[in-house]
Symmetry: D2
């Protein structure tokens, strides 16, 4: 932590900062600059809320030095983590994991048709929501446990790993019985109790970045899950809120090299939520793979115009087939497979 | 809903849109423009996910006409709602509700001293977290039920209404036993299960806007609570995530006239979270009251430098006293009291 | 400047950073932490682009310590600056400067009617664009010099100071002949050649913040003008681009206390551009004054529905009169006048 | 244009809207919905500022239907434009145009070494600033005409096309004498006088998107240039301002399919400005090409740590060579060459 004093800070105020730092069991290091004095704080700054020193007299601001996350960092674990995606696939290895399926499980036919189609095209995972967090209370909220049963049936029929969302603590056990991967949605990335509950599960967890979460907040959310006992965390970028109006969300793909540098966890990209428009999905799949993504999470629906949810950004199985062909070519160009 | 076709859309594609609209039980109204054809959809567009029509051939985009919320709207209830704040105060009436207290309940002395101080200065509510959503898993997570007991004791001693956060469904009953107002934090505004659970409580609910929530999403979250049976919703603006770096959050006060125009619900402002810096709090209190806020939610701590949470943005009781004086003057200037 | 090394950085890499720092004529100060080594750089970091050290081996990141602006800072000039607004008024003094008028000068009648109306209500400045930066090339681009002549005539008739935009270097002399204050628009805040050209003028300059400018960039733009020889800079906040969709721009009023803390320059607020909606203007005027703004810049039009530009956010002279009454009350409440 | 009335709008107010629309020479089409009445406006809405109707009584909001740009649109020109990049290359054709070079021209040796290196690796264009828009007035501002001469010399020596920035109208002629492509920087995208001046030049123009420009504003800026007589416009995405803090700018690659759908103009990507970190540049090059970019604009410096500008985001010629290899593989995978 670096405490920057205001210009002309009296010695008594500098001494006060030093004393406070020492009271926290940390060491200080005072640097008298030409314009300002700086107090560098040595020791593990994570325990103390030193930011509060901004309220001390003559303090201008306080800047953290250490990354706030530990177990999610590459410093702690230099080699990349490879996370199980059900019994037959992984995320984070040489092969890129393609996960596809409808936004919501709507009925048996809809789900099985899509599952067979994406399996045939080369997907290794099946996505589909049984519990749907809906902004609008008047719209379809998901089939609940019936949806989970259909997902399990589809896995039985196709061998695809099932990825589905868990919205609250009391759903963790239920969803864990059916799913291979528990998905934590963007609206719940900061739901710390849910993170801890998923950390106690044996299932892999796919953690979607919050709409406006910072990079550190994203990795700290993973840290919650790992600290609760579950190492199998897959990060998922799904777009952020910005001023842009030709997309529903802005998809910031530079997060891929940033995650690879800072963390050992794999990262997948959701280009459907990440743009909000079906026509952008193929280009964003290619771009994500080229940038180094470990997998894709794609909304596919047999009849997007009549999808109960997210129809505007769902692609058809035919488009998904085409994407798989492009993906394989791009994957090869970057030394991977798909 | 307005469906805008691409230029040169063939009649078959226009017919397809018309058919889809009619299949949803809605009426269509086709307008042939000089450059584009537009299909206006008449009927309640809230039930259907017509946005999916963006995936239909030759459709350019789909624009909603109706506000998605109903019971939170001023159309449904033209007169302003006045919401109870414990036994002795309200939010939304002529008198502005000043709610103050520490970010976290840390111990008995800390809480009671602040409670007495803010009461004496003119506050009607006491804020303080017993369950703390912390981004960083290594930092103080709150006292839990012990914190709730201390809050109840402080109410007993001062008459202040207690406002405190509920983080998950399983805490709703517990917190309802102690608190006058259940606070839903910014990280939980989209936690729809929690909204519904609070909707089943008899307590007033203070709903904080999500960091990146849109206006409609904010009112739809209130709609969830009201639909679940609880009319007593207080909206709270607490700042949004933007590119600005001299603040921790950007406080958008134009939401006050926007809420007053669109909804009957009262709105309070949190200038502590809303800026992240103690030195900005007095100016933002004055500005919020001047803009028409129905109350303020302010972090006050006896020793901000040593606060376990949010020290950088907490003010002292002395500053709060000064704010109350300024607030009263501003309130008078806009025909209210504080 | 603080250079933060990666964990486990070898001594050779630390030595390389030290050497580079010394090559720039700066002093180094090495702090060996428990997890990372930090190199604090002492000396005036403004001349060198030390940020480039991020490219040195084992460097994690580089954080500036000093504010990049000097002559605009309160450290350089502790007392608040009072800037002339024509012959009869100032900005930055006890009296709040109300500046009002149409977005564009459209014709003689339109301008003179508004000028007389706002003068009578209490304004001290007249705004109005003769050169209009229009996003859309097909829309009204302003009357040019004829507009300037009409503005000068309106000043003659009312005594109001004229504030009008200058869009390019070749307009500076022309506009300076007619106007009391040269306005630099939000789209030109980073037009450094124009800043320098206005710095060479004898007129006061009203500098509008760029849509997405940071705080430091805003003050650095003022620095350009002052360094070019013109001390008379008035800052103007006019809203920023964010994800919010119920406003055209988000108005961040916390910039007012931030400017007051960091700079000696006065700040005015434009609530018309700052929200984009006429109905929000009165509330944002009250809020700005309450927060400590030194003036307001408001779009007023005799017939907003038929305004050639910015009709959606223009208020009528009647509403302006009402705002002046409210403003006076708020100003008094904060110990000023209007 | 669609005018949405408030619920319960009286007939007189609807009639008033109708009359106003007709006064503008446009046709109206009234749709009485179950909750609201909507007035659809038929005709070319680009000339009139109908947005001002938001100020008419009982109007809720006004939504445009037509895209505001015309000559930049794919409707006007369905086939993709291929723009000359000097005498030997193009942008927008099957071959992807790689443009590389230093942020600033610093001296003869620096420029020629980089030029030869990037030429050998496969670049077709040389970037380099002679006039530098610097946020900080105390930093290097470019060599001016001497820099242009060096760029011309480097072209002579290597055959690379020269791309360099023009900051103001009075530089257009000068820069046109030396450069093959006039670059309009992000800070000048809204500098309409400069757009028009470049439109009068015979040189191709590379138009960088403003930090916070919307999609429509970006294409309208191109429209200004084309309307002024210059068809040869190359769009360039260089990152936007968001809340993200692990990058200097957020690079929104979904703009590539959006541009391809809406416009005939080619689009290149600047991954150096677009992220602000050298280590992210290779991944963002691969991603951009995979997404369909027509070219790349990359900052390359022989000694990034000592670069006078943008050192943190400059890559070395060795890294550029590696990028060219990866680019060729990706280009092939998407059916192009590089």
């Amino acid at each position: 932590m670096i405490v920057i004093m205001q210009p002309g800070a009296p010695q008594a105020h500098i001494d006060h900062v030093i004393k406070t730092v020492r009271d926290f069991g940390l060491r200080d290091h005072v640097i008298v600059g030409t314009e300002r004095t700086v107090v560098a704080v040595v020791g593990d700054e994570r325990q103390a809320d030193l930011q509060a020193l901004e309220n001390a007299p003559s303090v201008d601001r306080v800047m953290p030095v250490l990354a706030p996350y530990k177990v999610a960092s590459r410093e702690t674990k230099p080699e990349a983590s490879i996370i199980p995606l059900g019994a037959h696939a992984t995320v984070g290895d040489q092969k890129i994991a393609m996960i596809a399926g409808p936004c919501s499980v709507e009925n048996r036919n809809q789900l099985l048709e899509v599952a067979h189609a994406v399996k045939e095209a080369g997907a290794v995972g099946l996505r589909g929501g049984a519990f749907k967090p809906r902004t609008n209370p008047y719209q379809f909220q998901g089939l609940g446990e019936e949806g989970l049963e259909l997902l399990a049936e589809a896995r039985e029929a196709t061998g695809l790993a099932v990825v589905t969302e868990v919205m609250s603590i009391d759903q963790v056990d239920l969803v864990s019985r059916y799913a291979d991967v528990l998905q934590i949605g963007t609206r719940n990335m900061h739901n710390f109790n849910l993170l801890v509950a998923c950390g106690a599960s044996q299932r892999s967890v796919m953690l979607k970045r919050g709409w406006s979460a910072t990079f550190n907040e994203f990795l700290l959310a993973a840290e919650y899950i790992i600290n609760a006992g579950n190492q199998n965390v897959i990060l998922c970028e799904r777009g952020i809120r910005t001023h842009e109006d030709y997309v529903r969300n802005t998809l910031p793909l530079a997060i891929i090299p940033a995650v690879k540098r800072a963390s050992h966890l794999p990262i997948v990209v959701d280009p459907s939520q990440g743009t909000g428009h079906a026509y952008m999905v193929p280009a964003m799949c290619r771009a994500s793979i080229a940038a180094g993504a470990d997998g894709m999470l794609i909304e596919v629906h047999g009849d997007p115009e009549h999808a109960l949810t997210d129809g505007a950004q769902s692609i058809t199985p035919e488009v998904f087939s085409q994407i798989m062909k492009e993906t394989k070519a791009i994957a090869e160009a970057v030394g991977r497979s798909a």
